[in-house]
C-alpha cells in the first residue's frame, strides 16, 4: 500500500487562482518531496522539505509539513495553464521513498 495519499484526487481551477493539494502519510519520515508529472512524461522534482522543517518556498510554490498530523500541503499561487499536471508527494523513511497516487490538477485558461 502507498505511504502517502494525496487529496483531492482531481482539482480544476481557473488560471490565476491558487491550488492547494494535501498529502497524508502513516509512519515517521526523514523528508517529504513533491513531484510534478506532465502527461506521458517523467516526474520532475519540485521541492524537498525535511522532517524538522515546517515550511518551504520555491517561486510560486509553498510547501508546509505538519509531522504531528502526518500531513503536508502544496500550494501553487497564481496558477497558469502550464501548471496542468499530476502532482505526487513522496515520503522518505529509512532510505526508502514511497509515492502516493497523486492529485491531477487542471488549470483552465
Amino acid at each position: 500500500s502507498q505511504q502517502g495519499e494525496e487529496d483531492p484526487q482531481a482539482l480544476s481551477i481557473q488560471e490565476g487562482e491558487n491550488a492547494t493539494m494535501n498529502c497524508s502519510y502513516k509512519t515517521s519520515i526523514n523528508n517529504l518531496q513533491w513531484y510534478r508529472q506532465n502527461s506521458g512524461r517523467g516526474l520532475v522534482h519540485l521541492i524537498l522539505i525535511r522532517s524538522n522543517e515546517r515550511e518551504k518556498h520555491s517561486g510560486r510554490l509553498r510547501v508546509t509539513l505538519d509531522t504531528s498530523k502526518k500531513s503536508s500541503s502544496l500550494l501553487i499561487t497564481a496558477s497558469r495553464a502550464a501548471d496542468t499536471a499530476s502532482y505526487f508527494c513522496a515520503t522518505l523513511n529509512a532510505g526508502k521513498s514511497t509515492f502516493g497516487d497523486g492529485t491531477t490538477l487542471t488549470v483552465k485558461p
Binding site: N30, R41, H45, L48, L92, G95, F99, G100, D101
Partner: protein, 113 residues
Amino acid sequence: EAGVAQSPRYKIIEKRQSVAFWCNPISGHATLYWYQQILGQGPKLLIQFQNNGVVDDSQLPKDRFSAERLKGVDSTLKIQPAKLEDSAVYLCASSLGAALEAFFGQGTRLTVV
C-alpha cells in the same frame, strides 16, 4: 547536464514473452531506482541500487523480474515471462544519495497483449 536516459520509449509484447529495459543515470549518481507506474497510480518502487548493490527490492516480483546495475552505472530491468498486468510505464531515476531529490527519465511504456 545530461538527464537520465531510458530506452526503449515504447514496447509492445505478447504475454509470456520477455523484455528488457535499459537506464543510464546521471553521471556520478550513486543511487538508482526502478519504478513501475500503472495508469492512474503513483510510481511503485521495484528496486533501489546504491552503486552496484541492492538496497531494497522488497516489491520486485522476483519470480519474473530481475535487475542489475553493471559496474554501478547503467542498469537493466528484465521481465520474463511477461503478464498482462505488467502493462505500465517503467521509470528509472537516479540521485546523488537516497535522501536527496531524484531525477527521472522519460520512462518506457510497456504494453503486454
